[in-house]
C-alpha cells in the first residue's frame, strides 16, 4: 500500500477524475460508432421487410 500524507490524500480525493472522464467518453463514443455501424452497415443493407 502506498504511503501518502494527509495533504497528498486530500489532493487526490479532490482532483478531477480525469481517467474516468476519458473512459466514459470512450465508452460513449464507442457506443455511437457501434450503433452507426449496425444501423448503416447491417440494418439498412438488409432492405425492406418482405
Amino acid at each position: 500500500m502506498n504511503q501518502l500524507n494527509e495533504e497528498e490524500r486530500k489532493k487526490i480525493i479532490e482532483s478531477s477524475p480525469v481517467g474516468t472522464w476519458v473512459l466514459m467518453l470512450s465508452v460513449g463514443i464507442s457506443m455511437v460508432i457501434g450503433w452507426l455501424f449496425l444501423y448503416y452497415g447491417v440494418f439498412l443493407p438488409r432492405g425492406i421487410i418482405n
Partner: protein, 541 residues
Amino acid sequence: MNDNTERNLALSHMWVAFIAFILACFMGEYQVLERSGFIEALDSPAMYFASVSTHGVLMAYVLTTFFIMGFGYYTASTSLKVPIWNKQLAWGGFWLALLGVILAAIPLLSGLASVLYTFYPPVQADTMFYVGATLLIVGSWVWCGIMIVMFLQWKEANPGETVPLAMFATTMNAMLWLWTSAGVALESLFLLLPWAFGWVDTIDVGLARTLFAWTLHPIVYFWLIPAYTAYYVFVPKHAGSYLFSEEAARAAFIVLVVFSLPIGFHHLYMDPEQASGWKMLHGVGTFVVAIPTFMTGFTVIAALEIAGRLRGGKGLFGWIGSLPWTNTMVLSIILSLLMLIFGGFGGIVNASYAMNAMIHNTAWVPGHFHLIFAGTTVIMYFSIAYYLWPILTKKPIYSNNLALVQLWTWFIGMSIMTTPWHVLGLLGQPRRISSVVYNNLMTLSWEPYELLMIMGGLVLLGSACLFIYLLVKTQFGSTTEVFEGEVEYAETYHPVKDLPDYLNDIKIWNKVIAVLMLVSFGIPILQFFFLDTYDSSAWGY
C-alpha cells in the same frame, strides 16, 4: 442491537433465492443442449418449454424477489440502525411468497404452465400458476410496505436528517416495485384469473400485453437497483475510497425509478394494438434511462479511480492496475460494468424503433437480457452474498480465492454464452424455439455458435455450483472461528449536509410517476374500453 431476527430474515430470503438460482442454472444448461439438437435423446419440445418456463420464473421472479427482500430487510435495519418494523408481518410476507412459489412450481414442473416467464395470453397456464404468481407478488408487497413504513418512521424521528443512501435506494426500489407490479397485478386480477377459472370465455390479448408491458421494463430496474446500491454504498469502501457524489447517486436512483416506468412499449414495437405515436413516446423515454446508467458508471468509476490513485496508481489509467482486484466486491463491479457496457449497447439497439425490426424475437433478445440480468446484475448479487454471508452467519468466508475464481468463471462463461447468442440473432435465429435443427444450410451454419453456447453454459453451471458450495461451506462448515465484522457503508469525503427535500424523500417522485404513467399509459389502456378491439386505434395509423 440484537439482530438475530434480521439476520435470519435475510438468510432465509437469500437461501430461497439461491436455491431457485441453482435449480434454474441446471435447467438453463439442459435447454441450450436440447435446443442445439446435438443429443437426440434430449429432444422434447414439451420438456423444453416446461423447463424454459420454470427457468425464467425461478430466475426472474424467485431469485430476484427473494434476494431483494432479504437484502432490503438487512439494509434497512443496518443503515437506519433500528430493528425491522413488525417482524411477524415480515415473516408472514416471506411465507406467503414462498407458498406462491410452491403453488406456481407444481404446474410449472408438471408441464401445465409452459407459458414462459412472460405468460402472454392466449397461451394459458393452469390456474394454480396464476394463483401462485399472485401470492408471490402480494408477499413482496408486504416487504414494500415495511420498507416504506421504516423510511417514513425514521424521517419522522430524525427531522431534517439525511436518510442513509442505502435506505433511500431501497425505499425507492420498494416504491418502484409497487408501481411496476401494479401492471401485472391488474392483468392477473381482471384478465388472467377470470379466464383461467373459466368465468369468462375470451381474453383481450392486446390489453393483457399492454398491462404486462407496464411491468416488463421497470421490473429490470427492480432487479438492478440492489446491484447499483452495492455499486454506491459498498464498492467505494471495499476499494479504499469514498462515495464520489451523494447527490449524483440519489439523482441517478430517482431518474432510474421515475423514467423506467412509463417506457414499456419498446417491448411492443411489433405489436398491432398500440399506435406508433405511443411507441415513439415510450421509445424516447427508454433512451432517457441511459442517463442514470451513465451517471452511475461515472460516479462509481470515479470512486474507483480515487481508490487506485490512493494506492499509488499513476497516469491516465495506471490506477486500474492498482485497484484491489482480490477483493470480491471490487472484482465483481469491474466485471459487472464490463457486461453492462455490452448489455447496455444491446439494449440501445433493442430500443431503436426502426432497428428493433432486425432483432425482434430473435436470439439477440435473450442474449441481451442474459448479459444485463444474469451478468451485470447477478454477479453483484454474488458479491453482496460474499460480503454479507460472514456477517449474517458470524463465520468467515470459506475461501476468498475460490470466490474470486467463481466470479471470473461467471464472467467468462457469460461472455462465451451471450456473444454467439447475439450473433445468432443477427443471423436470424428466432427465440422461443425448442429446436434449431431444420437440416438446411442456414441452420447448419448456426451449429458452431450453439456449441459455443453449450460450453459457455457449462462454465456458468460450474461457477453457479461453486457459488452455492462456498455459501454452504461458509455457513455450515466446521470452523470455530467467529467473524465479528459488521456492514459498513461508504460515505463522501465531505459529509453531506442539508440535502434538498427532493433528494431525500419519495413523496414528490411518487406524484411525478403518477403523472407520467397517466400520460404514457392512460389512453393506451382506455382505448380498449372505448374502441372496438378489432378496429385500429384513433391515433397514429
